[in-house]
């Protein structure tokens, strides 16, 4: 289909073959290249932030000794992960709106003009990234927290006898012990580099922010299903899958070499 001028009423056998034309068009349309660029930016920042913050939070949470407080915090921070983006978008549209809670707070405390977070191209990406982090960091935290609890306490005792402060203990015991897991997760997430989160962006974006917020998946949806360019949409999709596939294979190889990680 990606190599055809696909017409639904002609079907796969009846449509004309046009070779690589659809792929060539990806690089001719400004909107298409823009969406690829946006996807890369958003996905890369999401991956980086999405690895660092959960590690940081897991270390902080492991410092809390009171089991009751620890458990309650855990329960609450995982919760957003299980809400759908439709729900989260509904909440966000409400609290980020011009007369929503956040702006209410900002105008009252800082006396600045209301900000339209979801309609301003310069603010759209940060909003997307922070909200994604809010929704998902608790989930990443589980894994890291498990690694931290699995560290042999005698390492800490030894470090303490050698006079290491808590900060030094974290730097020289906790972080090195977490390293294999961090490497695995970091390399495996390479494969998501063209995945900036369709559900989230589709539910939050609008024509005002296409310039910075339109990603490959939303562009495919609009250009193909809404505008009927089936062959072209498929080509863009295939382009994305192809590159992701290569990246995943490479990253899996790295993870296997560096951390001896195997899927099965």
């Amino acid at each position: 289909m990606a190599f055809q001028d696909y017409k639904p009423w002609l079907g796969l056998t009846g449509s004309t073959w046009i070779g690589w034309d659809n792929f060539a068009r990806i690089f001719q349309y400004k909107e298409a290249t823009q969406s690829i660029y946006n996807t890369l930016i958003i996905a890369v920042i999401k991956i980086i932030v999405g690895i660092i913050v959960p590690i940081f939070m897991a270390i902080l949470l492991s410092e809390i000794r009171n089991m009751g407080i620890k458990k309650s915090i855990q329960t609450l921070v995982y919760l957003p992960h299980f809400l759908s983006w439709v729900t989260v978008a509904g909440i966000m549209i409400d609290i980020l709106g011009l007369d929503g809670g956040i702006n209410h707070l900002l105008t009252n405390l800082l006396g600045i003009k209301p900000i339209y977070f979801l309609g301003d191209p310069t603010l759209f990406r940060p909003t997307i990234i922070i909200s994604d982090l809010w929704k998902n960091f608790g989930f990443g935290m589980i894994v890291y927290l498990a690694v931290i609890t699995g560290i042999d306490p005698s390492y800490y005792e030894a470090a303490e006898i050698d006079g290491a402060s808590r900060r030094q203990q974290i730097r020289h015991v906790t972080l090195p012990s977490m390293m294999p897991m961090i490497i695995v997760i970091a390399t495996l997430s390479l494969g998501n580099i063209l995945d900036a989160g369709f559900d989230q962006i589709f539910n939050l974006y609008n024509p005002l922010v296409y310039s910075t917020g339109d990603i490959i998946d939303t562009y495919v949806y609009r250009s193909s299903l809404l505008n009927g360019q089936y062959g072209f949409g498929t080509a863009v999709g295939l382009f994305k899958s192809g590159i992701s596939f290569i990246l995943i294979v490479i990253s899996y190889r790295i993870a296997y070499k560096v951390a001896n990680y195997k899927i099965f």
Binding site: L60, S72, Y78, L79, Q169, M181, D217, Y221, S224, L225
Partner: protein
């Protein structure tokens, strides 16, 4: 020793405050929603509602449950979630059991499954496939395409692999068949894993909205999440079915809030019970020696 030092105590206090604030940030939006759903129109329009209802009333809920579009969608979602979870779990556990054994061609099969996880045909080919199979506008278009998830299969398979071989051999000697072993040994022993994967599949089915919009031509056939998408994101007041007099008395926002809250309730209710399982399940699935 370190925890007695002054510096550490100060850190500890800040740490507690920071983490509690973070945790609250995850809870407060839901509370805000809940408060809105119980508040009156004037209070919402005047921006008076924060985390506690103002002019407490349940009109939004009455209206929501009298809206046949909403209840219809909810029913579709319930059926879809039950069917989807059951079918997925059946396929994944049986396939996972078979693939946890060594046999010729196993690795080739595994790579085919993993390939599907990494390399999807994309939006349009999937759409055309589902349409050509005649699944469009039926509940099967929602349940079947996602039923076999390679990721979940791998999780379950890794669980099955941790079960000692000796148990199976002992059962064989006692005359048990593969199916009996599967049912009586493997399934009960991997309960945490099953609960984890089951929860993911359930939540996934309940939350899925895009397939409904894609495959259903009538909005009356939408599952709840797709219905909500039209109300909340596309802001179609028509799907709320408000008459003019009602629109004057009821805030759209409080109806939206009520609908979002009702749709999230099942997840909030199931979640605490399964949490202890999924923490264990994810960790066992992810951390592997």
């Amino acid at each position: 020793m370190y925890y007695k030092s002054k510096g550490y105590r100060i850190f500890s206090i800040f740490n507690h405050i920071l983490l509690i604030l973070v945790a609250l940030s995850c809870l407060l939006p839901m509370l805000h929603l809940l408060a809105q759903s119980f508040s009156s129109k004037t209070a919402i329009n005047g921006n008076l509602v924060s985390f506690w209802p103002v002019d407490l009333n349940v009109d939004a809920y009455v209206k929501t449950f009298n809206n046949s579009n909403f209840t219809g969608s909810m029913w579709i979602s319930v059926i879809r979630t039950i069917m989807g979870t059951f079918i997925s779990m059946f396929i994944i556990t049986t396939a996972g059991y078979a693939l946890s054994k060594d046999f010729r061609g196993r690795n080739a099969l595994m790579w085919i499954f993993i390939f599907t996880m990494l390399f999807s045909g994309g939006l349009i080919p999937s759409y055309i496939l589902v349409t050509k199979l005649g699944l469009k506008d039926t509940i099967w278009s929602l349940v079947l395409p996602g039923a076999f998830g390679a990721y979940n299969l791998i999780l379950i398979m890794n669980f099955f692999k941790t079960i000692p071989k000796a148990l199976e051999e002992a059962a064989f000697i006692d005359g048990a068949s593969f199916f009996v072993i599967f049912r009586k040994i493997y399934l009960p022993l991997s309960l945490p894993g099953l609960a984890t994967v089951g929860l993911f599949i359930m939540v996934g089915n309940w939350n899925a909205w895009f397939d409904g919009i894609l495959y259903m031509s009538n909005t009356t056939d939408y599952p709840l999440a797709s219905f909500l998408q039209t109300v909340v994101v596309q802001g179609s007041a028509q799907s709320m079915a408000l008459s003019q007099s009602e629109a004057a008395a009821l805030s759209e926002q409080s109806i939206k809030a009520a609908q979002i809250f009702i749709s999230t309730l099942p997840i909030i209710l199931v979640y605490p019970f399964l949490q202890k399982y999924f923490v264990k399940g994810i960790v066992l699935g992810a951390v592997k020696e």
